[in-house]
């Protein structure tokens, strides 16, 4: 579904991505694990088009999307849940959800009810301003808002960041349910080892802007190996 070849990107003159190559098949949940500053978020931003690739190629369903604007990529089926969630603080939860499909031809009845069935926790919050929600609720809302646009490929950037453990478990269950029900294709960027292990089928390790290794999720239990390649220990 998604093919990335030798992708490079930079902030100004500082190179961040140094030749990323990876591919994601339909229905797969791929984790990307790495330290802060290794290029995880930059990779997702380049896949989204916020950052222009300086070299390399991004193929979506065989089409070259490397030069497209973010909104054009979204219209081709990519969904984005950014780091920090980026809820519209002054819009109600309902309007935040509506923004998720505002650029499509879908209407309220087609989207809101089914989404609330998947995310019952948002139901009592619909008329509250997005800015008044807790971090965990905002994260759930951000995922729901993304799914409102019916993406085929979801880019998920550190959904556990700054969220209390009980809510992290809830989000993990939610994502597992969604993956099984809707056969979503997901790229999940994380530092939280348990979370990424619980969800991913395979995990790519990113170091200094390149994918250095691919690990099957079950091998992530081998903490020595992880310590060696990622520098993260449990």
């Amino acid at each position: 579904m998604l093919g990335v070849t030798d992708l490079r990107a930079a902030y100004g003159r500082i190179p961040i991505l140094d030749g990323i190559s990876m591919s994601v098949a339909e229905g797969e949940l791929v984790g990307i694990l790495g330290h802060n500053g290794m290029g995880k978020t930059t990779l997702l931003k380049t896949l989204m088009g916020y950052l222009r690739a300086t070299a390399g190629e991004i193929l979506l369903d065989g089409d070259d999307i490397t030069a497209l604007e973010p909104h054009q990529r979204v219209r081709r089926g990519i969904g984005y849940v950014p780091q920090g969630r980026e809820i519209f603080p002054g819009l109600t939860v309902r309007d935040n959800l509506r923004m998720g499909f505002a650029a499509t031809s879908l209407n309220d009845d087609q989207v809101i009810e089914p989404i609330l069935a998947d995310f019952p926790r948002l139901k009592p919050l619909l008329d509250r301003p997005g800015g008044s929600l807790s971090g965990g609720e905002q994260q759930i809302l951000a995922i729901a808002r993304c799914l409102c646009g019916r993406p085929r490929l979801v880019l998920l950037d550190e959904p556990t960041e700054g969220i209390q453990p009980s809510v992290i478990d809830e989000i993990a269950e939610l994502l597992q349910g969604l993956r099984d029900q809707h056969r979503l294709t997901v790229i999940l960027v994380e530092q939280n080892l348990d979370f990424i292990r619980a969800l991913s089928e395979r995990v790519l390790i990113i170091q200094r802007g390149a994918i250095t290794r691919e690990v099957a999720a079950e091998h992530l239990a081998d903490s020595e190996m992880i310590a060696e390649f990622v520098g993260i220990t449990e």
Binding site: Y80, E86, P89, M99, A102, A103
Partner: protein, 286 residues
């Protein structure tokens, strides 16, 4: 009884003038944070468009819509050619729009001369007791309220309004949800310009159209929108109500110059007491 009617009339007229001159700015500055110093000249262009349209034989009412369309399109051109390169660059925006304002005043003076143009007021007077009230001023109050309600409904109840509100709060996220924010900025600026052009046309029968007319309104418009605070529509309405009441009352018992001075005085005190503006503490709304 007559006295009450007269005061209500004066205050209503003042209120509607504040609404008319500020509504476009509430969109362009209040929502988009673009400090458009050519805002007064947009009003002036609307006035001239209205004068030309009536001279071409259209009715005044139709000419108002022509003025809105002309200035709206002009606003879109300005956004494409100048403003879109300057989002977030306040000083550059100030300079560019100031230059645009000088250019427009000069251009219109060259084309039409420095004298004031006018249109015939199509409506007569109504008398309340011994005093005659201008029907056109009453119509102007109704138009201002209609524009206000129309704009509120557009932002509050349509998909375009939702997209605009979301885009103005967080353009990057809006793009990440598939919104073509470049186009949203263009259309929103154009809409603000169209509102301003419409207002300019509505004012013509009262003020006439002259090249420097924008200068008389722009300060009032900025004071109103800034005093309103971060919610552009509710803020502008409440600030217009306060300033309109003061201006209408003081201008009636004293003179219009004293009326304007008292508005400025009240605005200074208001912003001293509420530095975030009237709606500074409200969390959400329009």
């Amino acid at each position: 009884m007559e006295q009450v009617a007269i005061y209500a009339y004066q205050i209503g007229v003042s209120f509607s003038i504040f609404i008319l001159i500020s509504l476009g700015l509430a969109v362009i500055f209040g929502m988009m944070r673009v400090i458009n110093l050519a805002q007064g000249e947009f009003l002036m262009l609307g006035a001239y468009a209205c004068v030309l349209a009536t001279q071409a034989g259209l009715s005044l009412w139709l000419s108002m819509f022509v003025a809105a369309a002309v200035v709206g399109l002009f606003g879109i051109v300005v956004e494409r050619v100048i403003i879109r390169f300057l989002y977030g660059r306040i000083v550059d925006t100030l300079l560019a729009t100031w230059g645009l304002s000088l250019f427009l005043v000069g251009g219109i003076t060259t084309l039409f001369g420095p004298q004031s143009e006018s249109v015939v007021n199509p409506l007569g007077n109504v008398t309340v007791g011994d005093i005659a009230l201008s029907q056109y001023s009453l119509a102007m109050i109704a138009i201002a309220i209609a524009l206000l309600i129309g704009t509120y409904c557009l932002w509050r109840f349509t998909r375009f309004g939702l997209i605009v509100r979301g885009t103005m709060q967080n353009p990057d996220m809006a793009r990440g949800l598939g919104v073509n924010t470049d186009r949203v900025f263009m259309l929103t600026f154009g809409f603000g310009a169209a509102l301003t052009g419409f207002a300019g046309a509505v004012l013509v029968p009262i003020t006439g159209a002259a090249p420097p007319m924008g200068v008389f309104f722009i300060a009032k418009a900025f004071i109103t929108v800034i005093s309103g605070g971060h919610l552009p529509l509710i803020g502008t309405v409440s600030a217009s109500a306060i300033f309109g009441a003061i201006d209408g009352f003081v201008a009636f018992v004293s003179s219009s110059v004293v009326g304007e001075m008292s508005v400025l005085f009240v605005a200074i005190i208001l912003l001293r007491l509420l530095p975030m503006g009237i709606t500074g503490h409200l969390r959400r709304g329009l």
